[in-house]
Symmetry: C2
Subunit: 196 residues, 2 copies
Amino acid sequence: MSEVVSSAGTRERVVTATLELFRRQGYNGTSLKDITRVSGATTGSIYHFFPGGKDALTAEVLRESGHGYGEFVELIVRSASDPVAGLADAFAGAAQLLVDTDFIDPCPIGAVAREVANTNDELRQIAAEVIADWQRRFVGILVEVGAEESAARRLAALVVASIEGGFVMARASRSVEAFSAVGAEVVDAVARAVEL
Amino acid sequence: MSEVVSSAGTRERVVTATLELFRRQGYNGTSLKDITRVSGATTGSIYHFFPGGKDALTAEVLRESGHGYGEFVELIVRSASDPVAGLADAFAGAAQLLVDTDFIDPCPIGAVAREVANTNDELRQIAAEVIADWQRRFVGILVEVGAEESAARRLAALVVASIEGGFVMARASRSVEAFSAVGAEVVDAVARAVEL
DNA sequence: AGACTAGTAGAACGATCGCTCTAGTCAAGT
DNA sequence: ACTTGACTAGAGCGATCGTTCTACTAGTCT
């Protein structure tokens, strides 16, 4: 049995620290020095695990956290009595998270995506795949409760866009008022579509 | 009559260039050197007009373009036969703009807001005011056609969030498919609310 | 024991960051 | 003619950027 704790721990700490920093200051606002400070890892360690440098590390952060968010949100939505109630729970949870974390960005993927979409095609594409995965998950949920495929796709796009846009409004205003209003409207729209 | 062309021209060119650069590479991704290159102005000129440096310039960009966007979108929405058709026009116009401009960010305010919300409170607040102004404009439009104030506020929040979130999806995927789907759903939601 | 490998440590590189500062141009006012 | 003030020009500041590199530690093989 080898001593894996230290090395795997470092790699994980670097990824976690980078994610956290992206949520506060975005991609271009986060330096490798920041990452060494927060993670406790040295430059050498970062380049040992990510020979591709900052971009390779960012790619990993987007993929890992993107997948994690997808699973997490789907779990919340599915654990309610029905998808409509689950969606309302997800919005309420996100609103609570915003308040509890001083309005740090709940979604680094959307933040990084918007920042690098025109300057880094590799990262742009990874973000696109992650977002498409979220949309796909929600389409699946809606189809299961009887929605038509094409209508479900439009609704899922609305859900994702509303959440991302709601984060922008919440972060700018340091208030969840608009975000919660958006959530209420989106839940209404989904409820109407599903119950027809 | 003084020769205002040169000086006012430079100031304007700096603001325009900065706005354009923010749309492509965001706030932290845009350097003063970039701005001098695109605008043709020198560092001295930039600091002559904006003694507060990059942040003062950014503040001006946010305020000026934010106000301009608000007026522009309101004009589009109002120039249609009714607000619902006008909103559809606005979404269609934005989609066309995305395609025509290689998916450059149509809204630098939202982009910059998300980027600096936790690191620059002055800029965060300006962005918040601009976004609140947009929301207010749309509330006014909805109230005029008979919507109730509180419902109008929720709908206006949905409109703004959907547009901002839709931009993230469009830029990441380099496609307006999701954005247009979001637009269709939002137009539906507004139509239902107004025609009751 | 000795070789090998994974991981750590951090100095240092050239480039670039936002910004300051001095020198200069040019038109208007007296 | 001379001063003044608005504006331009760009060299240069210290700090920081992402990255490279060598040296070092320590656990695992044969």
